[in-house]
């Protein structure tokens, strides 16, 4: 019961973010960057500006809608990069073993030892602030967990009869990896990616706070929140709404990820009432 409720809530919140991002041009009453009238700055929420306006006089509601695009981009692209790196390394390491496995495992251990925020911080310092840098930085930081999962999944799948059968039937290694192993470990990878989307959005906010996130005028939630920090007393809505947006979307990704994991893992399902 609770499982389904969580999954539903997660799916609902995620859908909401996706819709907000996709439909932003139609839903947003104002342009997130150009409709900045300083005369109407820091207005509290009202009929025109549902979530109020920020220091530059921009509509917070519109910016949050457009911000969903950025959060989704950050979440999805960084996780795609993570998954591609993690799966490629993990799967080949698990499948081929040997020195390649030792190398990948060593690298994974190194990456795990460097706190991801600090690694992202370093990469951002090299690449400079901005969306592309952020995507790369976050894409390069969290693949180690995916890699570990891909590796261990591959190791256990490798000894499955159907993978060994594919070998005896003459399948090449690559064909086996793509047709036999990859489809069967997509579940946990997808779960990791979904959960990773949440942490990517959180990392974006944290990096923005440290001055290294996506920079304005892009309406990213993290940078909105960081900008709003100094307005907390004068115009709390400027901080509250982006904060809520981050919270709810990350909650959505997390619930969805948990839900997916539980529904993919029948062991968990029977255990949860």
């Amino acid at each position: 019961m609770r499982l389904r409720f969580n999954l539903a809530l997660g799916a609902f919140l995620t859908t909401l973010v996706i819709l907000a991002g996709l439909l932003a041009p139609w839903l947003a009453p104002f342009d997130p960057v150009l409709d900045a009238d300083l005369m109407s700055s820091e207005l509290p929420p009202d009929g025109t500006f549902w979530f109020g306006t920020d220091a530059q006089g921009r509509d917070v509601y519109s910016r949050i809608l457009y911000g969903a695009q950025i959060s989704l981009t950050v979440g999805i692209v960084s996780q795609v990069i993570n998954s591609v790196i993690g799966v490629t390394l993990g799967m080949t390491a698990g499948y081929w073993g040997g020195w390649w496995d030792d190398l990948v495992s060593g690298l994974t251990n190194v990456m795990l030892a460097i706190p991801s925020l600090i690694f992202a911080l370093a990469v951002m310092a090299v690449l400079g602030p901005g969306l592309p840098s952020l995507l790369i930085a976050l894409g390069l930081t969290n693949w180690s967990w995916t890699c570990r999962i891909a590796r261990s999944s591959t190791l256990s799948l490798k000894s499955q009869g159907y993978v060994q059968a594919a070998q005896t039937l003459g399948y090449s290694d690559l064909r086996i990896m793509f047709t036999q192993i990859l489809p069967n470990m997509m579940g946990p990878i997808l779960v990791m990616a979904t959960l990773g989307m949440g942490s990517a959005v959180l990392s974006e906010a944290a990096l923005s706070f440290l001055g290294l996130g996506i920079q304005p005028p892009f309406p990213s939630w993290g940078s909105m929140l960081t900008d709003a920090q100094r307005l907390l007393q004068l115009a709390p809505w400027v901080a509250v709404f982006p904060g809520l947006a981050i919270f709810l979307s990350v909650l959505g990704f997390n619930l969805l990820g948990d839900g997916l994991r539980d529904s993919l893992d029948p062991h968990m399902r029977t255990r949860k009432p």
Binding site: L117, A122, V126, L210, L251
Partner: protein, 311 residues
């Protein structure tokens, strides 16, 4: 056991070496320089001659490879170099900050353990109950909150509105100063601990040997005390270790927000002014901390779980 311990400790070295290499490479291509950062606030006009002189004095005009060799040789002598900014040995700078970070990390971890583990345990013993539902919703929420947003809210509520606690800084080191940052920092590990504890306990509860214990005629309480607790502990210790190890790295944001004089804020400040030796030193120390904690966890693990020692 001694061999096992030694082996685990020796295994740290290559990792540290690779990390050192990695951060050296990253920060050798980072744009901006310490010399230029001196004039970044526009308060004094940039002086190109001074900048050139500074770069020469700091050895930044040497070829990359030479710098790397010097760096590694120094590292091998446990010398982390000299700060560009303060011209003090990096090790001294770190020494002056690491303890505050450890204090914060320990306080946060203590908070997370003292609250998270019992909550997770109770939730697992009564799956589906209100306590369980609330705990799990709280846990996933705790994982979804932007930390500095939470910190800001706490600061406003507990320091400004209620005026219960000081809002920032280390003060004279009293426990009152540490509460807000520690609680903020502790939320994530708390949520994770509550979840893993619950999952771990449920996992153990469904294990065959628990059924065996019941078939011996034990009561629920006896089963939990005699058989479940220790097995669940294995999982909890792992999570505690991973969290504790990475907490100092995660604390960067919180240290900045609460002006906590830890290694995280030292790191961020040093990155901002490109005080590269300090950056490298701080990251190495943070990584070393992670590795040491994890090795310690492995050893604890081996002490709890007799199956480990063999392999």
């Amino acid at each position: 056991m001694l061999q096992f311990t030694l082996r685990r400790i020796l295994q740290i070295i290559p990792t540290v070496f690779v990390v050192a290499l990695l951060i050296f490479v990253i920060f050798s291509v980072v744009p901006g320089s310490f010399a230029a950062s001196l004039f970044a606030d526009g308060r004094t006009a940039a002086d190109p001659e001074l900048m050139a002189r500074l770069n020469r004095e700091l050895g930044l005009d040497k070829p990359l490879l030479e710098r790397f060799v010097i760096y590694i040789v120094d590292l091998a002598h446990l010398d982390l170099g000299t700060s560009f900014r303060t011209r003090q040995p990096v090790i001294e700078l770190i020494n002056s900050r690491i303890w505050a970070s450890l204090e914060l990390a320990m306080a946060a971890m203590a908070f997370a353990i003292l609250v998270g583990v019992p909550l997770g345990f109770l939730a697992a013993l009564r799956p589906g109950s209100i306590l369980d539902t609330v705990t799990m919703i709280g846990a996933v929420s705790g994982l979804s909150i932007p930390q500095f947003w939470l910190g800001l809210l706490m600061m406003y509520v507990f320091a400004l509105q209620l005026n219960w606690l000081p809002s920032f800084g280390y003060g004279d080191g009293s426990w009152r100063n540490i509460i807000l940052p520690a609680v903020t920092l502790g939320v994530t590990p708390l949520a994770l601990l509550a979840r893993t504890t619950r999952a771990g306990v449920l996992d153990v509860m469904s294990a065959d040997f628990v059924r065996t214990a019941h078939s011996k005629g034990m009561s629920e309480g006896q089963v939990v005390r005699w058989h479940v607790a220790r097995n669940a502990l294995v999982l909890i210790v792992t999570t505690v270790g991973l969290q504790f190890g990475s907490l100092i790295g995660q604390a960067v944001v919180i240290e900045k927000l609460f002006s906590w004089p830890g290694i995280g804020s030292l790191l961020v400040d040093s990155v901002a002014i490109r005080d590269i030796p300090v950056v490298q030193g701080a990251i190495l120390v943070i990584v070393l901390w992670f590795l040491v904690i994890n090795t310690a966890v492995d050893l604890i693990y081996a002490a709890i779980d007799p199956r480990i020692k063999q392999g």
